[in-house]
Symmetry: none
Subunit: 249 residues, 2 copies
């Protein structure tokens, strides 16, 4: 029995029965449990299954990479994107962050506005190229598996040589106390670098972000020049003095 056949069999079992018990498979295939455990470990390392005590289970759909969530935009994100589009000045150079809100923005870019778009997100880049006449610059780097955005040293090097008028920043948390936060460390670094090379930074604040806090800090609220809230967001934070001051900042 070839090693690859064993792994195929394991993946097959995983798909058909939703679980694999190391002991059972070892007995069924006539190999030692050690080999099965080794196989499961390797499959888990490749992200093809999840190791659990006694065997393994398939990768849950919820953990699927963000790429598959592409295209789903809540109404709130659409409204924020539309509002942000109003801030795009003809002839300017803008940076569009990765994320569903900026992806929505990329699809709404005005025609004939002589825009230059810079983005670290391949999805946003393609949307901007297809949906507008803008020149599109793609920031290179290693793509994060979770949010499909370029980051790392290569990206920082490229960003250091760029300059833009407005940076439309997407984050996962916007909180009066904790400031702007995101779920990936590398992503936070890239966002800061983009902000540093832009004359203005504007945060896109769809409803579910307001009041939320993620793991890694990106910027202080004082460092941004504006926040675009969802005009229909009824959150008390948006209506508060905090929200108002940010909106006008």
């Amino acid at each position: 029995m070839l090693g690859v056949q064993r792994k195929d069999h394991l993946l097959d079992l995983l798909a058909r029965e939703g679980r694999v018990v190391a002991k059972e498979v070892a007995a069924a295939l006539g190999v030692s449990e050690d080999s099965i455990r080794r196989d499961l470990r390797e499959l888990a390392d490749s992200g093809l299954c999840i190791r659990v005590y006694g065997g393994a289970v398939p990768v849950p759909a919820a953990d699927a990479p963000e790429v598959s969530r592409r295209g789903i935009a809540t109404d709130s994100k659409e409204r924020v994107a539309r509002a942000a589009i109003g801030l795009v000045r003809p002839g300017s150079t803008i940076v569009l962050d990765a994320g569903t809100t900026t992806l929505a923005m990329a699809r709404m870019l005005p025609h004939g506005a002589d825009l230059t778009v810079i983005t670290p997100s391949p999805a946003v880049a393609l949307a901007a190229l297809e949906g507008s006449q803008a020149r599109v610059f793609l920031v290179g780097g290693e793509l994060s598996r979770h949010s499909a955005v370029a980051g790392g040293g290569l990206a920082l090097e490229a960003i250091a040589h760029l300059a833009a008028d407005v940076f439309f920043l997407g984050v996962t948390g916007i909180d009066p106390g904790q400031g702007l936060t995101t779920g990936e460390l590398d992503d936070a670094v890239t966002k800061r670098a983009l902000a540093a090379r832009s004359a203005e930074t504007i945060v896109l604040a769809s409803a579910e972000k307001v009041g939320a806090v993620s793991r890694f800090p990106v910027l202080d609220l004082a460092a941004v020049h504006g926040v675009v809230f969802d005009p229909e967001d009824a959150s008390p934070l948006v209506g508060s003095e905090w929200g108002r001051s940010l909106r006008l900042a």
Copy 2:
């Protein structure tokens, strides 16, 4: 027993049983395991099988949904992509050019092969990220409006700092006299830079490219290490001495 007969038999076994064990076949055919191993190695180098410890397995078919969507009769680009996938060695770093053939390759990348993928195409990058476990590096730069591929100074600078094992090159023309050609000047420059940073360059030659000539030269045929033709391409060029020598180059 002639060498070609042995290889035919191996391919037959591969197709019928889904695997080949070197030891078994050697005993069955009455030749040494070395010869079988040599055959399998050559078949693997041609992309006709995948070498594994103990024997070999067939090249994995394209993803099931893909097949069902497009029917059994995949087009020339799909067949070339499939054949090229067989040349991707586990653990290696590959460059995937922009184009529909390389896009098909990105969708077929083997799981759990510990690959690193470098590409100047956002569409290829997203496909690779979505369909495999590979690390994906995106080459930045200005996106050409025609083929959505990064190019220009930024791209060249980024490419200069990369290195890869194999570059899967897509062009629009492959001609014995004119060599490899493409329709955009900037694109040709990018392709050359990628080839210069890769240990090997392999050209993807779907049927409609063979014998065609485009405006801008990319490389001489002598500069590439292999050409993947469509196995079902009946063009006289492919069967000619020219096609054969390239195929084996």
